[in-house]
């Protein structure tokens, strides 16, 4: 038994009794700073439960804007209270659990791979429902009471993010005229911020668990913060998350009108499509800079993988999307 399984078994037996067992421990994903494990919890005379352990090893510290796993679990639990589809949080680890920064949540069955969700027959009934359901989920996220959130959850509005990503871009000393033009356009057209709500911060294909009837759970809350609710609405419209299905603005599966209708139907504010445009452009700009950040991780040998290097060459996809948005092209 590995040290990790031993520590997890001690925790599980404290929670669920001395006969509880951890079985089928499987590494699901993760890089150097964060790990995701699946396992099966066996308690005598109960049906086995499929659970997920997310953890950051002891020595690592939260990078960039990530809020850390304990706060992430607190935000997920708060979002559950307003009816957001999220995995049930089973346990938030404390230092005596000996698992590092970690939490345990229920496994939610489904698919997160966009190319399958957008193309496989299995999801043909789900696809027309998804944009509306995403709108409903966002309205519930944005309705979370601030008192239920960690008190130190970062506050970041659209212009704060523009400032931060511009500073990162300037730090790279790369001259990219389209990013310069996007910065100038975004500054000229910035809307006045709306009252602060909880923002998921990374609501897009890849972080959405989808089954045959549609949205099953919203995952990956590590970029959650307090900010402008339109940020989530704009981010899922970024063309990079449409995986080639560019006439379906929301994630390649639906229309912005459906997203906004679902949002309003679940108690969200009434927005027009044009209210989302600026945040979509901000999203494409951020994605372009993220591509450069990933290239830098390769260039500095922090992550020497060929995959990191190749993501650097995706900055140009953000550039063409920004030009399409600035020029108001159809399906931009």
């Amino acid at each position: 038994m590995t040290a990790l399984t031993a520590a997890l078994t001690r925790l599980i037996q404290t929670r669920f009794g001395p006969s509880a067992e951890v079985r089928e421990m499987t590494r699901l994903s993760g890089g150097a700073s964060q790990e995701t494990w699946g396992f099966s919890l066996h308690v005598p005379e109960e049906a086995p439960r499929q659970l997920i352990l997310r953890r950051a090893p002891f020595q690592s510290t939260a990078k960039g804007e990530a809020i850390g796993l304990v706060r992430e679990a607190q935000v997920i639990a708060a979002a559950a209270q307003t009816g957001t589809p999220v995995p049930e949080i089973v346990h938030v680890c404390s230092p005596e659990d000996d698992l590092g920064d970690a939490f345990i949540m229920a496994h939610v069955a489904g698919q997160t791979i966009a190319r399958k969700i957008l193309r496989d027959e299995e999801y043909s009934l789900a696809r027309p429902l998804l944009a509306f359901q995403c709108g409903e989920a966002m309205a519930k996220i944005h309705a979370v009471a601030p008192d239920n959130l960690p008190s130190d959850l970062p506050i970041s509005h659209g212009l704060d993010q523009l400032d931060r990503y511009e500073a990162i871009y300037r730090g790279f000393s790369m001259d990219r005229p389209v990013f310069e033009l996007a910065l100038s356009w975004l500054r000229q057209h910035a809307p006045a911020p709306l009252p602060t709500t909880l923002v998921h911060g990374d609501f897009r294909n890849g972080n959405l668990m989808v089954n045959e009837s549609g949205l099953a759970a919203v995952l990956d809350w590590e970029l959650a913060h307090q900010g402008d609710p339109r940020e989530d609405l704009g981010w899922i419209c970024v063309n990079s998350w449409r995986f080639g299905v560019r006439d379906k603005k929301v994630g390649g599966f639906g229309s912005l009108e459906d997203l906004l209708a679902g949002y309003q139907a679940s108690g969200g504010q009434s927005f027009e499509p044009k209210d989302v445009d600026w945040f979509q452009a901000l999203g494409s700009f951020k994605w372009g800079i993220m591509c450069l950040i990933m290239y830098q991780a390769f260039a500095t040998k922090a992550d020497p993988s060929i995959e990191r290097a190749m993501i650097g060459r995706r900055a140009s996809e953000a550039e063409i999307d920004l030009l399409n948005l600035i020029e108001g092209r159809p399906h931009a």
């Binding site: 005229p177 033009l181 356009w185 560019r246 060929i306 063409i320 999307d321 030009l323 399906h331």
Partner: protein, 120 residues
């Protein structure tokens, strides 16, 4: 002086090896990275074929925009960035937008020729 096999032939051969021999015999992350490696070499192949003409075209577009026929592409690119930052060039300039669209499209034709944003 001697180019048999040529760089292009060697690249094509390595891409074929990665996709058709190495990747099918690997699993998990290693198989994935073998395919990414093949994609990276295909990008290099496109870059070798397209970069010289793309850079020459970019230089002539920026030279016309700035009325500067003498400077290098790198210097012109830096100048365009500086003028956008200072507000001398902006979204209201159709020649700037047309130049950036053409240059970005040429870059994407190297980086990711199937990207949907190329044909809005």
């Amino acid at each position: 002086m001697h180019e048999a096999p040529s760089s292009e032939e060697l690249l094509g051969s390595v891409i074929g090896f990665l996709n058709h021999i190495a990747a099918p015999q690997l699993s998990g992350q290693a198989a994935f990275h073998a395919r990414v490696a093949a994609n990276a070499l295909a990008l290099v192949e496109r870059e070798m074929a397209q970069r010289p003409a793309a850079d020459a075209r970019a230089r002539s577009l920026f030279a016309a925009l700035l009325n500067d026929e003498a400077s290098t592409l790198e210097a012109l690119n830096g100048q365009v960035c500086a003028q956008i930052r200072s507000g001398q060039l902006g979204c209201d300039n159709p020649a700037l937008l047309a130049a950036l669209r053409e240059i970005t499209s040429a870059q994407l034709a190297i980086d990711q020729p199937s990207y949907s944003g190329l044909n809005p």
